[in-house]
Symmetry: C2
Subunit: 361 residues, 2 copies
Amino acid sequence: MARRRQSVTIKHVAADAGVSLQTVSRVINNEPNVRPKMQERVQASIDKLGYVPSIAAQRMSGSKSYLILALNDRERTVESWRAREGNDWVDQMLLGGMLTCAEHGYRMIIELVDTHNDHVEKELQAVLSSLRPDGVMLTPPHSDNPLIVKLFADAGLPFARIGSQSRGPGIAISMDDAGSARKATEHLLAYGHKRIGFIAGPPDYELSGWREDGWRGAMAKAGLGTAGLSQAGDFSEQSGSVAARALLGCAEPPTAIIASNDQMALGALKVAREMSLDVPGDLSLISFDNSPLVKFAQPPLTAIDQPIAETASVAAQAIIEANRGEDSNASSHIVQARLVERQSVALPCPARPAPPAAEGS
Amino acid sequence: MARRRQSVTIKHVAADAGVSLQTVSRVINNEPNVRPKMQERVQASIDKLGYVPSIAAQRMSGSKSYLILALNDRERTVESWRAREGNDWVDQMLLGGMLTCAEHGYRMIIELVDTHNDHVEKELQAVLSSLRPDGVMLTPPHSDNPLIVKLFADAGLPFARIGSQSRGPGIAISMDDAGSARKATEHLLAYGHKRIGFIAGPPDYELSGWREDGWRGAMAKAGLGTAGLSQAGDFSEQSGSVAARALLGCAEPPTAIIASNDQMALGALKVAREMSLDVPGDLSLISFDNSPLVKFAQPPLTAIDQPIAETASVAAQAIIEANRGEDSNASSHIVQARLVERQSVALPCPARPAPPAAEGS
DNA sequence: ATGAAAGCGCTAACAT
DNA sequence: ATGTTAGCGCTTTCAT
């Protein structure tokens, strides 16, 4: 029962082909100095015996581990899994990252890190020691964590910072946050909205700022003010509700709201319903991320799609290139996001027969 | 830039503690024959240097790899990821499997296998050779694939067959499919339904049969017939619609339907809407799986929750136990599923003030 | 263009 | 209870 079948090693291949281990190694790694005939003969043996090198052994002798780590925030990830609300960013990372890795013979391993813990560094160092990955993908909010970034930089390990635009070590990969927010704002502007509210994300996520900047920029360009039209949340539905209440409760409420993520948009939608505001009749709504959630909302929400899969794919490619020593001069990438139109945007309320306003018309 | 920081090895620890490599090794692995004093001294050095053994090296010298493979069907998984419809079984497997693995110092790696390929065996053999995992988790429809099962059995590798009840090598882990279907049926029965339709899954999934059996059993026990009340689908929404149309279009249509998965239930829901049948007013509906999808349906669907996370957790534990040589006498596990009540079940249509029936009252 | 030898970090088997 | 030796499967020197 315990007799584990001895698998075929480089020795078997060498013996079968009647060559030295070295030659087999050269063939495996596509190294020069092997005559086509040899190459062919060895390859035949490899195929015949079904030989596949052990990555443990490869790694041991100073070669690659063909492992790429994807670091996610433990608490946030586990919570999202438990909530079962259809948030699928891990799946999208797998879709983009794992498949791209596989294409190049790499493997992606998800690792959850506990940032609250004050031994983050130790924890990460431990993962590196035990797995010796060839590269790492950082996701927000780790992508801009100086401690973490420094650690990988010092380790001389290629790493990608997803959702980060800051300069510094590692490859920064972001979607065009400001541009996307601008796109959303312009979409609303085109519908004739003038008072467009914005629910921002928490300040420890850099992208919160970019998205807000994009909105502000588009408003300014249209000659519109933004005073009293911005509220910050923390990405939770709850906080979206609070922000929406503040926005909609003021003297001159917005006719449209852009929320920095789906959850907060859903929170805003709830508040609209409580206030008997029809979406999109009385209030237009655009959210960021486009997780499955918003497709099933009532009404389905128009959203900026965050291209997580593509981002992860680009990250994987960049890491693999770095591994090959191709010091890709591009140390930062931008992946474009697109606006997915659904049914939460319409002409602004005042443009249609509206209920009498509370005061001053 | 490329100067990869040399990480600390067992040698450094040994030198620092002034002992032999072996002693350090014994401490790491909690082996006997180390005096508490020594143990303490070595541990101090380990902590001080932040030493963590390299799993590559451990694996090389005949020890474990601390890697557990989770095999998923490539096509089905990728399709589900691309569809972005909130189907979260991969996340749930990670939630249950990965966290449990982590608790025991193991790591879970997701691997997608292409069953359509006729070299499945080669593909799997290659993964085994390259990764040398300590165990494998099989998911449907692989759990009952004789070729695959035989391969792992021959390799002497501990493996779990998730969603399988058949005897044979490996640890079979299933939710109580028949029991759950019975539970769903009884729930409907309790509401007074007599004609309860069933949309079965495709026959290549063994659980399709069990679920149908459970329904049939409960009906029989209640003295009710099932003739003309069953239709098979293939787990797609489309097939659910077809099945529902067949069921609802007959002379004596059911007042309630149980669908073997969420997608098919959604298909049935769509048909009900097309036929102007109110759910649950005119038709009660219960689905299987309880993916996020059904929470957001209109109305939210009552469903049997498939406890994927717990199942994966049990699988991981079983594999790890097998690794420890604890030949757990339990070669099969059953994880209970529960019924989540939402708003798609009500009294049967004829029991309430109903629109005049087509004929016979 | 090929092969032989040394060693990666660790543990199993054998001393002591 | 501790240390020594050999070897896991592979790649890197360094020969030839």
